[in-house]
């Protein structure tokens, strides 16, 4: 069953000089209890996409078109009051810069209980405290954190506070935006496992935004590869990472050194992310693609769907399929 569905989503930032098309013609289905990893280079529009779901983009400088359907409702059509009921209660978000995601001059417990009161205005103090401590335990934090200020925590602890905050209502959808990238491997693993456990317990649907493919590989069941605002490939992790169909996915995987494997030559992807404010023809990745063909520069590739929800937007993949 599809829980969250994005259709023809286009998001543009209007700055003074130019319009940056951060997300373009984006279609993605996320099913109930999926764990969807969205990967892509920095600046490819991952955070923008996630923010659009909760309507957090500054309204006056962004244009959004398309649909974001959650549980059958188009979030983009809701007014702010209706949206309030969904925000955090149904969909919660762990921000990329979690170090700054709480007010520096208020105690953590205070802020968490305040958030809890947004949807549970009648909860009494003790209840709230219990709830918050329960969450702390869940993310492996001591309960003394309740009375600390954000700056008194280490980056890892703060990260966990953010996760605890996002879980405060046990939402249906949890979006984690690079939430563990800054942590050391041990802590990172710890937190991710915690979250995976919760996911099972609470029937969470999880969206992981990261540019570290290995995280997706070991914690998600599906993956979506983004590049310059486009979705290039999506499908089950086991399919996509094992035998990537899109050249970009392939190169992305090639540029990771393997820990135990042969010390083969690492290959980077030459070139850089295109200017998102520029109009372009053809495949967005064509400039950097080693396998680019003539038509890649003129025709935009269609999204081709293989079996098992595996979709690829590449002329090569299309031809392969049709062959």
């Amino acid at each position: 069953m599809t829980l969250l569905k994005m259709q023809h989503l286009n998001i543009t930032y209007k700055t003074q000089e130019k319009a940056i098309k951060a997300v373009r013609d984006f279609d993605l289905n996320i099913e109930l209890q999926d764990s969807m990893g969205i990967v892509g280079e920095s600046g490819s529009g991952k955070s923008t996409l996630a923010m659009a779901v909760l309507q957090l983009l500054p309204k006056d400088i962004t244009d959004i078109s398309g649909e974001i359907i959650f549980n059958g409702i188009d979030l983009l059509k809701l007014n702010s009051e209706e949206l309030k009921g969904i925000k955090w209660k149904e969909i919660a978000y762990v921000f990329q810069k979690s170090m700054n995601s709480l007010s520096p001059v208020h105690k953590i417990g205070y802020q968490l209980s305040d958030v809890y009161k947004v949807h549970e205005p009648n909860a009494n103090k003790r209840q709230i405290r219990e709830r918050v401590c329960e969450l702390f335990e869940l993310v492996n934090l001591p309960s003394r954190v309740y009375d600390l200020y954000p700056h008194e925590l280490s980056g890892g602890m703060m990260q966990r506070v953010s996760i605890a905050l996002s879980l405060i209502y046990y939402p249906k959808v949890l979006i984690l935006d690079e939430s563990t990238t800054a942590l050391d491997v041990v802590t990172q693993r710890q937190i991710l496992e915690e979250i995976m456990k919760l996911q099972e317990k609470l029937n969470l649907t999880r969206i992981m935004i990261t540019h570290d493919v290995s995280i997706v590989a070991s914690t998600c069941n599906k993956i979506a590869v983004m590049y310059a605002g486009y979705l290039l490939e999506s499908g089950y992790v086991t399919d996509v990472l094992h035998s990537p169909k899109h050249p970009y996915t392939e190169e992305l995987l090639n540029s990771y050194p393997s820990l135990r494997g042969e010390k083969g030559y690492l290959k980077g992807i030459p070139g850089y992310l295109p200017d998102l404010s520029q109009e372009h023809k053809g495949c967005i990745f064509a400039d950097r693609c080693r396998k680019a063909m003539e038509k890649c520069f003129y025709n935009r590739p269609e999204m081709v769907e293989f079996s098992n929800q595996w979709k690829v937007a590449c002329h090569l993949a299309g031809s392969e399929y049709s062959e």
């Binding site: 280079e41 800054a182 050391d184 491997v185 086991t238 090639n254 540029s255 990771y256 820990l259 850089y272």
Partner: protein
């Protein structure tokens, strides 16, 4: 033959006057043992990887090696002579021989200088090249060698107009300009996108080989480090807990912490299903490490002995040392877990 770099019992303590909470301002000062008795040596043309979690003192060690900071105690010998006397003798010569590539490429250059000025000023300080044109030519040559092509396109740009990868490359080029004998690369790729990491790593490797310089590669990314280095030192709370050749450390690690680190590494292969050693607890801060082994509070092998004294470095193989009381008997522990 004496090695290029030799350090012995290097320590660096920071004194921090800290008041966690205004009302609880009892602690007068706290000592942060950022680097706490580190010894190792490095030979020309070799790459030494230093891994360890965030905050374990890797960058501090790097800064000590290049005399950006005064060590609290211990000696750093560069080409057989201590660096403090080298600096006294000839600061410029030393600065020329040792170069550091900083953790954050976006902040390595004065945002108000363009690339041309950034590169030529390094030459000018060291009186390389006689005229402006000559210096510029040298820079362009190096840039083209390093794959920044066409070099002229970049010369008049400012750092903010370049991407992280490009900046990191400029950073490497600048240190190359001076033909250093020792390069310290402090997490040169952690800030970069996966797609450009590989190029940077390859560039670094190539340079060490060509110039026969020693490279110290600091990172907490184990996979990358293992890819690049000849040997690896594992740090925990300011101390080296295990050191040895790369293969030994990755595949035949002895110290529990190393094992934990390596088993926690994630792989991009969704089918690989390695055993993960789980440990509890927060990383201890370098302030309140007690008497015994620093890793003891989180160690899965911990015994009473560990809490009493710090275990000595023991040789466990060819060039492979580790400091733990239970290096040999716990081999099977991993698998029974």
């Amino acid at each position: 033959m004496s090695s290029l770099l030799e350090i012995k019992d290097l320590t660096k303590y920071y004194v921090k006057k800290k008041a966690k909470n205004i009302s609880r301002n009892k602690k007068k000062r706290q000592i942060i043992k950022a680097v706490d008795g580190v010894s190792f040596s490095l030979e020309s043309g070799k790459v030494m990887g230093i891994i360890g979690e965030s905050g374990c003192g890797k960058s501090t060690l790097g800064r000590l090696l290049i005399a950006l900071e005064e060590p609290t105690s211990g000696i750093v010998k560069f080409q057989g002579k201590s660096i403090s006397s080298r600096i006294k003798e000839d600061r410029l010569k030393f600065r020329r021989d040792c170069q550091m590539i900083f953790q954050n490429p976006f902040d390595t250059f004065d945002p108000r200088n363009n690339i041309k000025r950034i590169l030529t000023s390094a030459l000018k300080i060291h009186n390389i090249g006689s005229s402006k044109e000559e210096r510029l030519d040298i820079c362009i040559k190096y840039m083209e060698n390093a794959g920044v092509i066409p070099a002229k396109d970049y010369l008049n740009r400012y750092p903010h107009e370049l991407s992280g990868g490009q900046l990191q490359r400029i950073s490497i080029i600048r240190s190359m300009l001076l033909n250093p004998k020792l390069i310290i690369a402090d997490e040169p790729v952690s800030m970069l996108d996966v797609s450009v990491r590989a190029d940077i790593i390859n560039l670094l490797l190539e340079i060490t080989e060509k110039q026969k310089a020693g490279l110290i590669f600091i990172s907490h990314d184990i996979a990358t480090t293992s890819y690049i280095s000849d040997s690896i030192a594992v740090m925990y709370l300011g101390r080296i807990v295990e050191i040895g050749r790369t293969y030994d450390i990755i595949n035949n690690s002895k110290h529990p912490y190393t094992k934990v680190l390596i088993s926690n590494c994630m792989s991009i292969d969704p089918f690989e299903n390695s055993k993960v050693i789980k440990i509890k607890g927060e990383p201890v801060t370098p302030m309140d490490a007690g008497e015994g082994c620093y890793f003891a509070p989180r160690c899965y092998k911990v015994s009473e002995k560990c809490k009493e004294s710090y275990p000595p470095m023991i040789k466990v193989g060819e060039g492979h040392y580790a400091s733990c009381f239970y290096l040999f008997d716990g081999e099977s522990y991993l698998f029974t877990q």
